[in-house]
């Protein structure tokens, strides 16, 4: 589904990604772990099309189509979703109106009619219940005055509404208390199926207790230096990252 080949990227002439190779198939859950500054968030931003980063080499394929020149909204229309580490506040625009606009823009881009109002309402109700969101929450301005946990829950709500092919969760666990973490993870697990995929980007193993990955990759200094199964995450939690560094140097 998502296939990244030899990806190099830089920001302001500083190379941050130094040749990433990653293949994610439908139905899989991948996790990327790594110390601060390894390039985890850069990778997620680049997949989503952030124009502040320059891809100097390599390719990104989504269902066989090379997308590295596509605008962020085009990638979104094709099914890429990024749950932001720091979601942006948009005063004056309600959660409901924002998600309606997002859904209908995607539908428009894909040659579909706007979603009928009753269908939209039903879906909003269903997905907000899944994320255990208060109804009042939906009429509040997007992310304005939301707690860290509310922002993350709102990100996963939007993901649930947009039903992406591939969802990238960038440090979704940061700022979440244990209850919110459970709700968010439960939401992700319920949305997971054979036709979509999830890429979890995290510093800690905590979230992976709830969203169990099929593959764990360690990103260090712009490269994936080790891959394994879910047990690798536990090992990292226990031993930290230094041993991998030493293993690399040896």
């Amino acid at each position: 589904m998502l296939n990244i080949k030899n990806l190099h990227a830089s920001v302001e002439d500083k190379e941050i990604l130094k040749g990433i190779n990653l293949e994610i198939k439908a139905g899989e859950v991948h996790a990327i772990m790594g110390p601060n500054g390894a390039g985890k968030s850069t990778l997620s931003s680049i997949i989503a099309g952030n124009e502040n980063y320059e891809v100097s080499e390599g390719e990104i394929f989504l269902d066989g189509e090379e997308i590295s020149e596509f605008a962020p909204e085009e990638r979104a229309h094709k099914g890429i979703f990024l749950s932001f580490q720091y979601p942006v506040e948009i005063p004056g625009v309600s959660v409901t109106n924002f998600i309606k606009t997002a859904i209908n823009e995607s539908r428009k881009a894909n040659g579909q009619e706007e979603m009928p109002a009753n269908e939209m309402l039903k879906k909003i109700r269903e997905k907000s219940e899944l994320l255990e969101m208060d109804r009042k929450f939906l009429s509040r301005s997007l992310n304005e005055g939301f707690s860290g946990g509310e922002k993350k829950r709102n990100e996963i709500f939007q993901m649930a509404m947009l039903e992406p092919k591939i969802a990238i969760l960038d440090e979704t666990d940061s700022g979440l208390d244990i209850d919110a973490l459970r709700i968010v993870a439960n939401g992700v697990n319920k949305l997971k199926n054979e036709n979509n995929a999830v890429l979890v980007i995290t510093h800690y193993q905590r979230l992976l207790d709830y969203i169990v990955p099929d593959f764990v990759h360690v990103l260090m200094d712009g490269k994936i230096v080790k891959s394994g199964d879910a047990s690798l995450a536990l090992e990292l939690e226990e031993k930290g990252y230094d041993w991998i560094k030493q293993e690399q140097e040896a």
Partner: protein
């Protein structure tokens, strides 16, 4: 003949149609003298440093429209707040339109300045209020006073809560090649009374118009006044708005100014405090482009203790447009425990757009809370990326972001129909249809 000379010589013609043996006319005569001495302001004056009237004054403006003109309702309906019943005081080329208006004397006065200035029953009110708070030194205000004759007269008695908003609209039809109009409004809001007023100036074609308007507003004890100014005029319309507000104790007055159009717009907005625990709000949204120019020149004169003022102006400039914000807060020695807040945020969408922002705080009391903040920036990249990531195209994302930028101002519009109308105008200005009412 230059406009100044033309105005001075027109005064004699004006005197033929009004009663000159009145105190009112003495006011006019001395106001004319002040204008004659000072003339139109130039960029040499500090207060007019960034706004030049020179190019406008070259037009050969008619001072009095020669013929009456009629307007069909269907042609101007879109300028009204249609979804709610309102009182209406409507003028066409400076002349009152009975046909389009809906005035009242039933429990409150919503009528004409020309009646109020001439009928004996209004004499006491006129003597007490007319030209009492307007700045007699100001040349443009004086020019308006000299020709003061027509406008809206609104007098709300004690404890009256006016259920319907009042719309004051000045249309110009373009019957004259170029027209100068000088509306004079007087608004008196009694103790505990409450009123909502919407003022608009609108040209119906491209012939140049210069409006030099003066509005005096008196808010008595605990009165609540919500005043909205909609400035979304054609590119050849110029507006100088001089508004003077006197507030008595515990009154609350809010003025929202929406500047979306016109050629040159200058808003002189002045608040004077005459009692304790007064609350004043000055908010504005300016969204302009091309060569448009909007200048907000505000004054809040804190003269009494324990009062608050809140200013919040948002500006979005595109093309070669120019914005000016000069916000003066004056805190007199007696005005202890003043809480004055001023915020001015500007976004420049083009390299050729200019903003001149100048906060001016003069504080003579020692126990006060005054703050001001001014920002000038471009649209936030990370917010753009966030919205695009959700599938919202660049243009729409930009529009949503600009709408969000103005929301601190739109959020305090108390008339829902007006709020919807303003949101619609903003969406039109930004060239988007969001598929929902912003």
């Amino acid at each position: 003949m230059e406009l100044k000379e033309k105005l001075i010589s027109s005064f004699m013609a004006f005197e033929e149609k009004v009663d000159v043996a009145t105190e009112l006319h003495d006011l006019r005569t001395s106001a004319l003298k002040n204008f004659e001495t000072k003339g139109f302001p130039t960029k040499k004056e500090e207060a007019w440093k960034y706004t030049s009237l020179n190019a406008i004054l070259k037009n050969d403006f008619s001072i009095f429209p020669k013929k009456e003109s009629a307007i069909e309702i269907k042609d101007v309906k879109k300028y009204f707040i249609n979804d709610v019943d309102t009182y209406k005081v409507i003028f066409i080329d400076g002349v009152f339109s009975t046909f389009l208006s809906s005035t009242t004397h039933d429990g409150l006065d919503v009528c004409l300045m020309s009646s109020a200035l001439t009928k004996p029953k209004y004499k006491m009110v006129i003597d007490n209020y007319f030209n009492q708070i307007a700045n007699k030194e100001d040349s443009l205000t004086s020019l308006n006073t000299a020709f003061a004759y027509e406008g809206a007269y609104i007098n709300i008695p004690k404890s009256k809560v006016v259920e319907k908003p009042i719309e004051i609209i000045y249309f110009s039809t373009g019957n004259e090649a170029a027209l100068m109009v000088q509306p004079r409004n007087l608004v008196i809001v009694g103790e505990n009374a409450h009123v909502q007023i919407i003022e608009r100036h609108q040209s119906l074609n491209e012939n140049p118009v210069l409006t030099n308007s003066v509005t005096e507003i008196f808010a008595q004890k605990r009165a609540i006044v919500d005043y909205y100014k909609i400035q979304n005029d054609v590119q050849t319309a110029n507006l100088i708005d001089n508004t003077y507000i006197a507030q008595k104790q515990e009154s609350r007055v809010a003025v929202h100014t929406f500047s979306f159009g016109g050629n040159i717009t200058r808003n002189n907005l002045n608040f004077y405090h005459q009692g304790e625990r007064i609350d004043s709000t000055l908010k504005g949204i300016t969204i302009i482009g091309d060569k448009q120019h909007v200048d907000h020149y505000t004054l809040v004169n804190h003269a009494t203790p324990n009062c608050e003022s809140h200013q919040n102006y948002k500006t979005i400039l595109d093309g070669n447009s120019t914005g000016v914000f000069n916000g003066k807060i004056f805190v007199e020695k007696e005005a202890q425990k003043t809480d004055a807040f001023q915020q001015n945020n500007n976004i420049l969408l083009s390299d050729k757009a200019t903003i001149n922002a100048k906060p001016q705080l003069e504080i003579f009391a020692d126990d006060v809370k005054c703050s001001h903040g001014c920002t000038i920036g471009q649209l936030d990249d990370s917010a753009m990326f966030y919205m695009q990531q959700r599938g919202i195209p660049k243009k729409e994302a930009k529009a949503l972001l600009m709408y969000a930028f103005t929301s601190e101002v739109t959020s305090s519009i108390k008339i829902p129909e007006l709020k919807a109308k303003i949101a619609k105008i903003i969406a039109t200005k930004l060239g988007v249809n969001m598929g929902f009412d912003l």
